[in-house]
């Protein structure tokens, strides 16, 4: 299994307060890696460091390296905009643009210089996200008319339209009902054939169901990292065991 993202001795600060302490992690290609941990443990912060979204927040600072495909994305000469093109992101709350379904998908590709056939792009991304049959007749209606689950799948479609290597997902199903959640989960499992996925989740069962490896964070520190099965069935650390069995969190 080839490693795609390496996080090495990574520290992250919001002003004076340190959110991540010396994080060192490896994520593999074509796998689903889950980040779990109680609220405020830094898992979303870590996720947003992988595509440098945290650069948009004033008064933040980071130390250490994150390499993707052996390229350090925290070098001074690396433009975060270029990083985000290669590392797509899906957010907690479905956030399609208040535009048509069509525009939602083609916009990201267009601004990144896609010159190919737009119809093919729309059809292939929507097919890959299992949305094509549901929306093919209303591509030019506003995306906000879709249901929450459909909106989230559209956001995933929008993310893969820019041809990323990695897709980051920040609790993508926390705002959805169980049926929509199940559909997204099966979609994510399908997507890992082509993309490497890092997913933050609050839902222990979800991490257990879909991820290949899992990292448990607590107060900005990686407590344990390993294959999901091992973490869930026989965790090495006591804290991990307590968290997974629901004793705190």
């Amino acid at each position: 299994m080839k490693s795609i993202i390496q996080i090495k001795n990574f520290n992250f600060f919001y002003g004076e307060s340190q959110a991540l302490h010396d994080v060192t992690l490896d994520f593999n290609e074509n796998q689903i890696s889950a980040l779990i941990g109680p609220s405020g443990c830094g898992k979303t912060t870590l996720l947003r460091c992988i595509n440098r979204m945290n650069d948009l927040i004033d008064d933040t600072r980071s130390e250490g390296n994150i390499t993707i495909h052996e390229k350090n994305i925290y070098l001074a000469e690396v433009d975060p905009v270029e990083v985000r093109r290669k590392v797509g992101m899906v957010f907690q709350k479905p956030n399609p643009f208040p535009k048509t379904i069509w525009d939602n998908i083609v916009w990201g590709a267009k601004i990144n210089g896609y010159t190919g056939n737009l119809e093919e792009l729309v059809e292939s991304t929507l097919t890959r996200t299992a949305l094509w049959d549901e929306v093919k007749d209303k591509l030019h209606t506003n995306a906000l008319f879709l249901s929450g689950g459909q909106q989230q799948r559209l956001c995933i479609a929008r993310a893969i339209a820019i041809k990323p290597d990695v897709i980051l997902m920040d609790e993508p199903t926390s705002a959805l009902d169980p049926v929509a959640t199940a559909r997204i989960e099966s979609l994510i499992t399908e997507l890992k054939k082509r993309y490497s996925i890092v997913i933050v989740t609050h839902n222990m069962q979800q991490a257990g169901r879909i991820s290949d490896c899992t990292s448990f964070l607590l107060n900005g520190v990686v407590v344990e990292h390993g294959r999901t099965k091992e973490i869930f069935l026989n965790p090495k650390e006591k804290k991990t065991e307590e968290y997974i069995s629901g004793e705190f969190g």
Partner: protein, 427 residues
């Protein structure tokens, strides 16, 4: 868990006491509500009635009976009928016969007699041939309710006519300024106002919106930025006459070659050699409304939900692509409403324009941004400062025109906002 139990046992009595409170009877709470609601209703009706009084007093002055006296009575020309009923040719003949040659030629050169409207000709006959002058002008209220008394009063003057006159008329709107209130019009002032406001819009929109976007999206948080923000807020409260003084020094004096148009070779026609031009006035008003536009646009930009920005950045968009494709389209309705409202405030500004040198009497209609100018508020101010009733009537007419322009602008702003809101209603 343990901590919570120990905590509650320690204070259990106090806590139980706290939970035995008696809710206030609903009746007293409702009574307070009734009092407040009544007060708010009174406030609402006060505001509305003041607006009606304002509108009423303007309209009251804009229409009404006028008691004319003539040096030559109209019947001498019209054989018992009305001057208005004469034919076009007949009117021209009267003018040719009775005006001094030079006056006739001047009028003809300004606009050929044949092309002038019939009403226009009547008005010239009225004021120049018959030498009509206003003995008394009455308000609409007096004209409607004290008509008998007015007629009685008119009979005491020999050679006088009581005629109902609308001070606002096509001739008034299209006419040029004149010392004679019966001939005077406001076309020059309307053109001046429109010119000044176009210059203001041209400069204030891009400058204001650009500043706001830079401050909100590009400038990193720093002490310098805070200082700028505070200053912009303070500037929005600076009295307008002070902007006038600034405009006088900067645009009229320092930038004279530019604002007078000399640099671009504009010296003929209505252009002026001084910097007292439409351009200077527009730039001064730009300074005046710029802080308000910046503040309003910043607020509009801050109202854009973060999730839209994040979605855009997450797709590898640059800042400018995010601003241009998502932030501005999302809040353009709010930006424009605020901007148009401040522009309509600028239309009504008088004080700074007095300082930067709007002409008080101008018979030439401005033809470029380097022309001398006067504006509607200046014109209204000039007229309302005169003691004669007929000038008050002219002022009322000009106010009606000014208000119409402002209301039209506001109406456009509201309609635009509604349209944008409808688009975003699905959010």
């Amino acid at each position: 868990m343990e901590r919570i139990t120990s905590h509650s046992s320690k204070h259990s009595e106090d806590i139980n006491k706290a939970l035995q409170w008696q809710p206030k009877p609903l009746r007293t709470r409702k009574r307070n509500e009734t009092i407040m609601r009544t007060l708010m209703l009174i406030a609402l009706y006060c505001t509305i009635s003041f607006l009606f009084i304002l509108a009423g007093s303007i309209i009251n002055n804009a229409f009404g009976y006028v008691l004319f006296t003539y040096e030559i009575h109209p019947t001498e020309f019209s054989q018992g009928g009305e001057i208005n009923e004469l034919s076009h040719a007949k009117k021209i003949a009267i003018l040719k016969e009775n005006l001094r040659e030079r006056v006739y030629i001047t009028l003809d050169r300004k606009k050929p007699m044949e092309k002038r409207s019939s009403q226009d000709l009547s008005a010239i006959i009225f004021s120049r041939v018959l030498k009509a002058s206003v003995l008394e002008a009455y308000s609409l209220f007096e004209s409607l309710f004290q008509r008998g008394q007015l007629i009685e009063n008119a009979l005491t003057y020999p050679n006088a006519d009581l005629i109902f006159r609308s001070w606002i008329s096509p001739r008034f709107i299209r006419g040029e300024q004149s010392t004679n209130p019966l001939e005077s019009g406001i076309w020059g002032a309307i053109t001046g106002s429109v010119g000044v406001i176009l210059v203001t819009i041209l400069f204030s929109f891009p400058l204001g919106i650009g500043t706001a976007v830079y401050l909100c999206e590009y400038m990193p948080r720093s002490r310098w930025k805070n200082l700028l923000q505070i200053n912009i807020y303070n500037l929005s409260g600076v009295p307008s006459i002070i902007y006038g003084l600034l405009g006088l020094v900067v645009f009229v004096r320092v930038f004279l070659p530019i604002t007078s148009g000399q640099l671009f070779g504009f010296t003929s026609g209505a252009a002026t050699d001084s910097g007292r031009t439409i351009l200077s006035a527009g730039l001064t008003l730009t300074l005046l409304i710029l802080p308000v536009i910046v503040i309003n646009t910043q607020e509009a930009i801050l109202s854009v939900p973060t999730y839209i920005k994040q979605a855009s950045y997450g797709l590898g968009a640059t800042k400018w692509q995010t601003v241009w494709h998502h932030i501005i389209p999302y809040c353009i309705g709010r930006i424009l409403t605020g901007t148009i409202l401040s522009v309509s405030r600028a239309i009504g500004e008088t004080a700074p324009l007095v300082v930067v040198g709007a002409s008080t009497f101008l018979t030439i209609v401005p033809n470029s941004i380097f022309s001398k100018y006067t504006t509607l508020p200046i014109q209204i101010y000039q007229w309302s400062a005169r003691p004669q009733q007929e000038f008050q009537n002219l002022a009322a007419g000009a106010i009606l025109v000014l208000l119409t322009i402002m209301l039209t602008l506001n109406f456009i702003a509201i309609m635009y906002r509604k349209r944008v809101q409808k688009k975003l209603a699905r959010l």
